[in-house]
Symmetry: C2
């Protein structure tokens, strides 16, 4: 990234209006919660089940915080989320994974990247609402718990590690596309790309750190 | 029950030791959360999905409160819950229902009855821990939200109502059996039955009120 550090402000012109932002991010957190609650139900041990239920609870807290923000503005949460259901459900389907470990890896990597991105995008939202939304999205998402669950399995099974490394590479593309979809459409594509690129470079660096934490190569 | 009102104290001699109580009730709340999170995932509308996610969150709060209580006593939650997993998973399988409406009805009726029962049983737990556990279990479980989701569907579809009424009758038997399973084993069956009977009569009365709230005959 050289000598030009990216700041949150860079992305502000691409932040959608408050209602769209809330609708997309609230339904996305609900989808993240659903993915996590699925891995809770299918967890291979009581320990994993209870640990991951904490993580599911943290995603639910984010969803509920955003829903409360929608209600604060006098809007109906379901109606505000509805236009974005198909896109996010589609993303959920292609990223859900073929077994429990892939599903947990998806929860970790997609939620991590999208939370990072939405926090940056939320910095462009106006006033006190913007500050509240940043605080909701920045809150702990339980990554340390997920890493602990995955790490033991990966360390004792190199083939699982190789498979999850490949799965992680596939996920990052689909997740970047969904991140792009949350941006405000604009006419000036060249200028947009110039703003987006350094942010995406940061997101990839954070993704690489998440993979490192599992002992995997991004 | 005539002139002898049942008080919480009646059941105290059948309350299991603290560790057993916490293990059973913590895993049970986790199972209730899982059932609710499944109906969130399969909800027929975004409105239902978001509303029921609140209810799932309330069950998760109960689970987490009980887990915190286990940790407070220096124990490992997963190890404390483990001995009760098979019984509760078995209960979950037979009560999960054949479609979304049956599943939601199960969440409402089984969690309602079991929470009622566990609150009474927790009154027999010693000291401040007992008080804290009663408070956790007595907390709102979102019944009003579940009733609102079911009522509209039942009112517009009498056949659904008839089917759910039958389903509710079947659930109550299985749920009473699980409630019994949470009791401390004892040698004096006659005396136990004399204590249990009025409590179960109260639980059935509360069950009947829950069915009434849906416009269904218990």
């Amino acid at each position: 990234m050289g000598d030009a550090p990216t700041t949150k402000v860079d992305l502000a012109t691409l932040t959608p209006d408050l209602t769209t932002f809330l609708g997309k991010s609230a339904y996305l957190q609900l989808a993240i919660f659903e993915n996590l609650s699925r891995v809770v139900r299918t967890a291979p041990s009581t320990e994993a089940k209870s640990a991951l239920s904490k993580v599911a609870g943290l995603a639910l807290v984010k969803h509920q915080g955003l829903v409360a923000e929608i209600e604060r503005h006098g809007e109906d949460p379901a109606a505000i989320m509805e236009p974005f259901v198909d896109e996010i459900d589609g993303f959920q389907r292609i990223t859900e994974g073929n077994d429990w470990f892939e599903s947990v890896t998806s929860c970790y990597l997609t939620a991590g990247l999208l939370d990072d991105f939405l926090v940056r995008l939320a910095a462009g939202l106006p006033g006190a609402a913007g500050d509240r939304i940043v605080a909701i999205l920045e809150a702990d998402s339980g990554e340390a718990i997920v890493v602990a669950e995955l790490l033991t399995a990966i360390e004792s099974n190199p083939r699982l590690g190789a498979r999850l490394a490949m799965w992680g590479r596939r996920l990052v593309g689909d997740t970047m596309l969904l991140a792009r979809w949350t941006l405000r459409p604009s006419d000036n594509h060249d200028s947009d790309e110039a703003r987006i690129e350094p942010v995406f470079t940061e997101l990839i660096a954070a993704h690489t750190r998440r993979m490192d934490a599992l002992g995997l190569t991004a």
